[in-house]
Structure formats: C-alpha cells, structure tokens
C-alpha cells in the first residue's frame, strides 16, 4: 500500500524525520518496506498492511494509526452538510435501486448528478494521483480514485443516460450473460458473480470493475455515482474467478467501513461541485436523487469484556491500567464500563477485527511495544511428555539412516519431489498423485519413485563434468489410491570411480556397492536376513536388476540403469541405483542394541573351491550350508572365477568358512568332520563339484 507523505500531512502534523516515522510505523505493525523520494521534500512510503487491517488501506486510515502511535492530533475530515436539493424536480430522472440479496450487498447509495462537465481534473488531484502511480482519466473518474486512495471507499460512476429503464439492480448474473469491461475485456459471467445491472443487462461487475458501455466519456453530462458495500468473500471469489484484481476489489475483499459508504459519496459530491461544474455560472449540478438503500446494517464488532490478568497471562507483563485505558480510547474504542479489573469495550465501525479479548491483547501489546515485553526463560518440562510426542514420525530413524550412509562416503542430495507426467507415463506408474494446478509440465506429479529425481541430479552433475559420484536422498514417494499415500524411501546412486590415484589405478563403482550400502543399512538396524532375487525393473538393464526381500516384503530394488533410461535422461556415464523402502526397513529393524561377548578362542578358517552349475547362485550356496552347524560362525565368498579350468556351463566359487567355538579352541579333526559334512551337502543338494 503506497502512501504519499504530503497527503498524510493533510490529517496529521508530522514533526519528525521520515526515517523515524517509518521506524515507528514498522514497530507498531505497519511495516514500511520502502520510502522513495517523490518530488521535492516528499516521500512515497510503501506500507505492508496485513489482511486484518482494511481500515489502513487509505491515507486517512494510516494517518489515524500514525496519530495514535506518535501521539499526534488527528485532524478529522470535515463533515459535509449537503446543500438543499434543487427545487427543479425533474420527473424523468427518477430511478430505482433494487438489491436482490442483502447479504451480497448490504448497502448501495446511488446519487444522480446532472449537468456535469467532463474535463481534466484539477492539478492537485492529477499531481497526487501521478505520485501514487494512478493514471489520470478525467475529472469525474479521477475524483473517485482520489477518494478511494484517501478514504478507502471505492466508488463507480455510470453515464446516467446509458442506463436503461431508470433502474439499478444489484443481482447475481444470469446464465449466458456477458460484460465488456472498461479495460476492453469481455467476460462470461458466472451465476455466482454479483453484478450491477440496469433494466436489461449487467453494467458492472460489482465491486471490481465497471462496464465499457456505460462508462463516463467526454460527452457525458449526467451521471450516477455508486458508493456501496459488498460481501467480501463474494467479491474475492469473483475477482479470482475472472483473474481481475483491482484497487476496488482489494478493498471490498477485506471489507469497507459502513459509515464511510455515505461520507465518501458526500465527499465526492462536494468535489464534483468544485471541479466538475459547468463553466456557465448560471447552472449548477442538480442533485435530483440520492438514494441510500440499506438492506442490512453491518453490525459493529462485539462488545468485549477482558480482564487485566488476561493481558499479563498472555504477554508476561502488564502495562498500567491508566495506559491501557488511554490506548483503548486512542484506538477509537468506547470504554463501556470499568469494574475492578474488568474492562468492557466496543470497537469503532472501522475496526471490525476487534472481537475477542485476544484481539485487544494484541492491540495493547502492539502499542506498548513488543520490545518492552521482557525475556523469560522457559521452565523445565516433564520428560514423559517428550517421549510420548516422539512417537509422531520417524525423525530419529531417518537421521540414523542419513548418518549411516554419509559415514560410508555417500553425499546427501535433496531434490524436487515433483516430476513430469512424461516421466510417470514413460515408466508406467499407476496410482500417481498429479497436481491440478501445476506451474509447468516439468513439475506436475508427485514422484512415485525416487529414481527420476536422482537421475536428474546425476544428469546435472554429469553436464558439469562431475562424474565420480556416490549420492543418496532420503525422501518420500507419493501415490493416490482411494486416499493419499506417502512412503519414505532412500535412493542410493553411484557413478564413475570410488578410488583414483596418480599412478593410474582406479576402482569403479559397480552393482555390489549398492549391496554394500544396503547391507550397511540392514546391519545398522539389525535386519540380519534378506534375500536378493533377479527381478526386472523399468529402470534397470535386464542383466543387472534385482529386488531385495525381507520376509517376503520388498525392501529394495537395485540395478544398473538401462541404456534406454540413460538415453531418456541424457546420461553420459553408466550408473547404479538402489531404492530402499524405509517403512519396510523400519518395520523389521531391531530397536535395541544387544552386546555380544567378543570371542575368546581362535577361529579356524577353511576355504572350499566349488564348481557349480551357472543356475546356482552364491546365495543358494550360502543358504544351503548356513545354520547347519553352530560352530560355523561365518561363510564368506572370496572368489568368483571363470576360465579355462572351468567348463563353460559352470562357474567357480571359492568360499571361506570360519569355524569358531565360544568355549574352547577347536581341533582340526572336528573341523574336518564338519567341513566334510558341508561338502557333502553341497555336492548332494546343489550338484557342486569340489576342487581340491
């Protein structure tokens, strides 16, 4: 909201520098976000008026507030007494105002003025409008704009002779009606739009903009001046429906002061008399009719009783009761009664936001100054409360996941949770949660997978020659299936090499780095058993794509990004990605850390070299011999080989079995016995051959 300082001075005598004025307004809740020089010794202040203070959307309102804050005298605008209506009663100018719905339009004043001379506005009006960046049109329009800025009451002027049927009807638009507005746009009216109409057609979109056909022009000599009050949310809905935000709609949406509907109309009349009069002295503006139709009194705010203790309870401090009473009066409120520590008050018509004790406490705090309220430390809180609140959400768990992955050298990213419809279509996702009002097609759907997000981050980095990457993101994936679904997931991705030295050796990331990240996580959360199976996936190459299962629930998918996906995202380097579902991980995680005694006796390691059919996986081998004997403490895969010693339909696998007892040192012959049992199992059940 722009305010011209010199205009403000019509109502208060400001005797402090502009910087001090700005600071004082800011610290009382009218934040001045800018003060630009506007001509000689004048400033245009930019004031942020919060939505609860429509009374401050005018020069007068800001002046009233500034007077209170700076303890200055507020010069009320003079009350206008109308001269006697002309005796020349002209029957032809009779007209009616019909308001169909008092909730939509509580008050409408129509004032007919005859013999108006349309011409340029006087210099002081043009000058002030120009400084406030309002385009000058003609004296008639400029006067209404001038009053809008000064008093906050929007008004509209119709060419009386273009109004058909001598009537103003305030009604809802009918189906199929259209209106050509003064900014030359043709709008298709909705049945929920409130319009001002004459006998035949809509002539204005109520509270927002007038129509072109009844606009005042150079040839106009008779006018109808509209000053009204409309239902704020109705105006708001219509303004949004048609994308027409105007100075008028801005104020009507927030609510105008009921008495000002009349005083502004009278003020306009006075200015018309002065500045839109015929040159010919013999004629005067003839007021034929001024009709004030009040359908519904806008009620004053409620009478409020509050206790002084309420102020102290909320603010932690209590100004003197004398100061409180003075401030309340300064707000224009009436103190209805004071009994002991209770005050009963009534706010003025322009402060309809003051309806509860909390509203008054805020006013008192604001005028007292937030800076004067003391600082007090919070007392200690009972611990059991904290624990019960902690159950809401996965904060601790998520943090441990992030910490775990960053400890093994992965870098966290945070990407946009919105992806394009093109992506969700390409990867055939169902039950997607798409936006109704996306900004762009690129960000139109909540991601159903973490992969599109991280792939774009790889692309961004590749395009900047950052190729060696180990990234992860903990985020959500979203679906809609009879209701919204949000799942936490972590995505891990590797590209390039993890190690490089200046002697030319380097070690590239591969699929097993994904499994390493996965096993670090499962290990961290005590999920000791999971199975990996071949499973195709729309993102991964057919020969390197897997699913990971914990108790038949899918814990993760992982694999090498396929060439078609690389092409789609313009990825220049190969990369490996895993998506891990944290709800599953969390469900199977063990909460407690359980200490186990370190082994006291040495272990015996034995290697077995196997030749297996290609169809047997290493996981099959390990599972087959795992848990067969309690002395087997671990089974490790130490080598996988193929070559001339191995038949082409077979593969070589070396496993290292560690045998350990917790209560004694093992003897070789007992290990020999177990080893041979295990070998027999492998030979018998998996068709393995043992290489000696």
């Amino acid at each position: 909201m722009k305010i011209l300082l010199s205009w403000l001075k019509d109502f208060i005598d400001i005797n402090i520098p502009v910087e001090e004025l700005c600071a004082a307004l800011t610290m009382a809740g009218l934040e001045v976000t800018g003060a630009d020089a506007a001509g000689l010794d004048d400033y245009l202040l930019d004031i942020e008026v919060t939505p609860n203070r429509p009374d401050c959307l005018s020069i007068l309102g800001i002046a009233r507030e500034a007077a209170l804050i700076l303890d200055l005298k507020f010069k009320h605008p003079k009350v206008i007494f109308l001269p006697k209506t002309s005796t020349a009663y002209i029957k032809e100018t009779d007209f009616d105002i019909n308001i169909e719905d008092g909730d939509a339009c509580p008050r409408y004043i129509g004032r007919i003025l005859l013999n108006v001379t349309v011409g340029p506005a006087p210099e002081f009006i043009k000058d002030r409008l120009a400084k406030m960046a309002v385009r000058s049109v003609n004296n008639v329009v400029d006067i209404t704009n001038y009053i809008l800025l000064e008093r906050g009451q929007p008004m509209h002027v119709f060419d009386y002779d273009k109004i058909q049927g001598k009537q103003i009807v305030v009604r809802f638009a009918k189906k199929g009606e259209r209106l050509l507005t003064i900014d030359q746009s043709e709008i298709n009216l909705d049945e929920k739009d409130l319009v001002i109409a004459d006998a035949k057609r809509p002539v204005a979109l109520a509270g927002i903009m007038g129509g072109l056909e009844t606009e005042v022009g150079p040839k106009t000599s008779n006018i109808i001046l509209e000053s009204a009050s409309f239902n704020p949310s109705l105006i708001r809905a219509t303004a949004r429906r048609h994308g027409m935000m105007t100075e008028a709609s801005y104020r009507f949406e927030r609510g105008v002061d009921f008495p000002a509907v009349d005083s502004a109309s009278k003020y306009a009349l006075e200015l018309f008399r002065q500045y839109a009069c015929p040159q010919d002295k013999g004629r005067d503006i003839v007021i034929d009719k001024a009709k004030d139709v009040i359908k519904k009194q806008t009620p004053l705010s409620s009478k409020v009783v509050f206790k002084l203790q309420d102020i102290e309870r909320s603010l932690g401090t209590l100004p003197s009761s004398f100061w409180i009473r003075k401030s309340i009066k300064g707000l224009g409120c009436e103190i209805l009664s004071v009994a002991k520590d209770r005050i009963k008050v009534q706010a003025p018509s322009y402060r309809r936001d003051l309806n509860t004790p909390a509203d008054y406490i805020e006013e008192i705090a604001r005028l007292y100054g937030y800076d004067k309220i003391p600082y007090k430390e919070l007392p200690c809180l009972a611990l059991e409360r904290e624990l019960s609140i902690k159950e809401l959400g996965d904060w601790d768990f998520d943090n441990r996941v992030k910490e775990c992955l960053s400890r093994i050298g992965l870098r966290e990213i945070i990407s946009y949770a919105l992806v394009s419809e093109q992506e969700t279509a390409k990867f055939h996702f169902d039950n997607i949660a798409a936006l109704d009002n996306p900004l762009t097609k690129t960000y139109a759907v909540l991601r159903p997978s973490m992969l599109p997000s991280i792939l774009k981050i790889f692309q961004h980095n590749f395009n900047r020659s950052n190729y060696d990457l180990a990234l992860f993101e903990l985020g959500k994936i979203y679906f809609y299936d009879n209701g919204p679904i949000e799942r936490k997931a972590v995505v891990v991705g590797f590209s390039g090499s993890k190690y490089k030295d200046c002697f030319g050796s380097s070690l590239g990331y591969n699929f097993f780095d994904l499994k390493s990240a996965l096993s670090v996580l499962t290990g961290r959360f005590g999920l000791d058993r999971y199975a990996v199976t071949d499973e195709e996936n729309q993102f991964f190459s057919k020969n390197c794509s897997a699913a990971v299962w914990a108790n038949n629930q899918k814990l993760a998918v992982c694999g090498k990004i396929s060439e078609s996906v690389m092409e789609f995202y313009e990825l220049k380097k190969e990369l490996y990605i895993a998506e891990i579902y944290l709800d599953v991980l969390k469900y199977f995680s063990k909460k407690d850390i359980c200490y186990q005694r370190l082994p006291q006796y040495p272990a015996i390691e034995r290697d077995i070299a196997l030749i297996l059919p290609q169809s047997v996986s290493s996981q099959d081998v390990v599972e087959k011999i795992n848990n067969r004997n309690e002395l087997v403490s671990s089974i490790e895969i130490v080598d996988v080989y193929q070559g001339k010693q191995i038949p082409p339909d077979k593969k070589g696998l070396a496993i290292r079995i560690t045998y350990r007892s917790l209560d004694r040192t093992l003897k070789d012959d007992e290990v020999d016995k177990i080893e041979s049992d295990l070998k027999n199992i492998l030979i018998g059940e998996l068709s393995c051959q043992i290489r000696e």
Partner: protein, 323 residues
C-alpha cells in the same frame, strides 16, 4: 625374505612358505593343542598377530612390485593424494539438524506430518476459513481429481500434534512445503520450513521472546541483534515477525537487507484461541506460542548463498562446501 623378493612369483613362494595351508603359521597353530593349557590362548593370539603382520607386509610388497618400486627408490612426496571422498549431509539437513539441536536443549522434540494435506489442516483448523484474505499469501497446489492439497506451511503439524497429544508439549516439525511460485533466485515451488509449538498453562509472549533469542544467539552468534515487530497471522494472536540485525552488513544497510539493516527471519505468536478450540484444548486453561521459519532462507543468510536453486541442483561442488 619378503623384502628381498624381486618379482611376484618369488613373493608368492614366500607367501606360501609362511601363510599357506601347510606353512609355518599353520604349523604353529596345529601344534597349539599339544601345548600346556595355560599357554594355548596366548600362543594362538600371537600366531594370529604374526600372521596378519606378514600378510600386511606381503600385500604392501605386492603393490610396490606392481609399481616397479623398490624401497631404495625415493618416492616423489609431492604427488597428489589418492582421492577419497567424504560423505556428508545436505546443507538443508545440516541447517535443520542445527536448529533442532538448539531447541532440543530447551525441551523440544521432533515430530512429523504428512505433505499431502486437506484444506482443513492447511487452512480451516488454523483459523483461515474459506474466502479469508490471508489465503492470498498462501497460494496452494491442489491434487487432481480429489480434495487434497500439498501443504503450503508446516503449521499444519500444530493441529496434528494437538489432536494426538494434549499439553504440556513442546514440539518442532521440519519438512517440505509447496507453493506455486515460479523458480527464480529467491523463490521455489518446494522448500523447507520448521514449525515450533510450545503449550502449557503459563507459556507466554515473554517466553516466546526468550526462546527465540536463545535460538538466534546459538545459531547466528551472540552479537546478533534482534527485534520483534507486530504482524498478523490468522493462527496466532498476538503475532510477531522477528528480525535479526543484518549479518552481511552488521546492521549498516546493504543490498541483502534492502538498506534497512534488518533481516526478517521468522514469524511467531501466541497460539490463537480458535486453534485451541479446534483441537479441544481449553484456551482458558492452556496457552502457548508457535513459530515458523524457512530453512532455505536462513541457510542462505547464514552462508551468504544468493540463489535458492543451488539447494535443489545438488551440484557436488556446491554440496562439498558444507563439510
């Protein structure tokens, strides 16, 4: 013997001699059962230690041989280090963690809420009815074909907490929020906020001031100036915005603070009685404060970052600067 090996084959022989299935170490271990019982664990341990030492020597020698270096060759110590990369957390996560840590000291704990929300949680329960002009500043993404929306503020979690837990309570809720703002240097359609809520019988505005002052001191440093300005939020009353003295120009006035010397960093206030009524908490008995701040904004201020898009681009060279 290890050091004398001049090629990989020699080294392999040496390795077998010590570490093979029938090598020296295996020999020792095999004979352990024959030793007096009290010596067995000791010898076993010793044998293992020696075994590891030899293995380490051998593998180091293997690397040397591979590079054709002998211990007599002097290495160029000025060659660059082998590259190894640290993992790390995103600056947004770091900022959230830092804020959480500060408030945990004064009894707050962290809760979370959904990002797909209803009009009720995002607006109505927060005292922002349909048609309220405060909705202007909170433009919102809606989902297609249903009544859900993406939360435009983390204040939604205030309602969710108080529906489930009755006061006294102190909670923080960090998370993503969405607003239909086009991407530019200072706007994004997705960013992070953190919401704070403290409710009991006596928590008042002066507690709010002290808690936030503690946060500013810990987060921005003890010399940071601060002020509270009256403001308006539908879900708090009295409401305030908090400014800190500009950390770029120390309050002298610069382009970052718009020559005002102050930077707005958060909104706060006493929880509005209507919000309490909505969650069946009696505002005559309980009261408290709430605050909310934008993570990207304060991370940008703290680190002097001039473009919000950097956070979501995730250029590794950007991310590595926050270790």
């Amino acid at each position: 013997m290890i050091l004398e090996a001049s090629n990989q084959k020699d080294l392999e022989t040496v390795k077998n001699f010590y570490l093979g299935r029938k090598g020296k170490i295996a020999d020792i271990i095999k004979n352990i059962p024959a030793l007096p019982e009290n010596q067995r664990p000791l010898i076993g341990k010793e044998a293992n230690v020696i075994k590891q030492q030899i293995a380490a020597l051998i593998s180091r020698k293997q690397v040397d041989l591979a590079k054709n270096l002998t211990p007599q060759d002097k290495i160029d110590v000025t060659l660059p280090p082998n590259r190894s990369r640290l993992g790390g957390l995103h600056p947004i996560t770091q900022t959230i963690n830092e804020i959480v840590k500060i408030f945990e000291h004064i009894g707050f704990c962290v809760v979370e809420g959904p990002e797909i929300e209803t009009d009720y949680y995002n607006f109505q329960a927060l005292n922002i009815p349909e048609g309220h002009p405060a909705r202007d500043g909170l433009a919102t993404f809606y989902l297609k074909d249903n009544d859900y929306l993406l939360r435009s503020q983390t204040s939604t979690v205030q309602i969710r907490i108080m529906q489930q837990v009755k006061p006294p309570l102190r909670a923080l809720s960090p998370g993503r929020v969405f607003r239909p703002d086009n991407l530019d240097a200072s706007h994004s359609f997705m960013f992070h906020q953190i919401e704070g809520l403290a409710v009991d019988r006596t928590t008042n505005f002066s507690h709010l001031k002290a808690s936030l002052a503690y946060f500013v001191e810990k987060f921005f440093g003890p010399k940071t100036g601060m002020r509270f300005r009256p403001h308006y939020f539908p879900f708090t009353e009295p409401s305030a915005e908090m400014d800190i003295s500009c950390i770029i120009c120390s309050g002298q006035g610069c382009s970052v603070c718009g020559r005002k010397g102050w930077l707005e960093i958060l909104g706060a206030g006493m929880v509005h009685p209507n919000v309490f009524k909505e969650v069946d908490i009696d505002p005559e008995v309980f009261q408290g404060y709430a605050f909310g701040l934008g993570i990207e904004r304060i991370a940008m201020l703290k680190y002097g970052i001039d473009d919000i898009r950097l956070f979501a681009n995730n250029d590794i060279r950007f991310l590595e600067q926050f270790d």
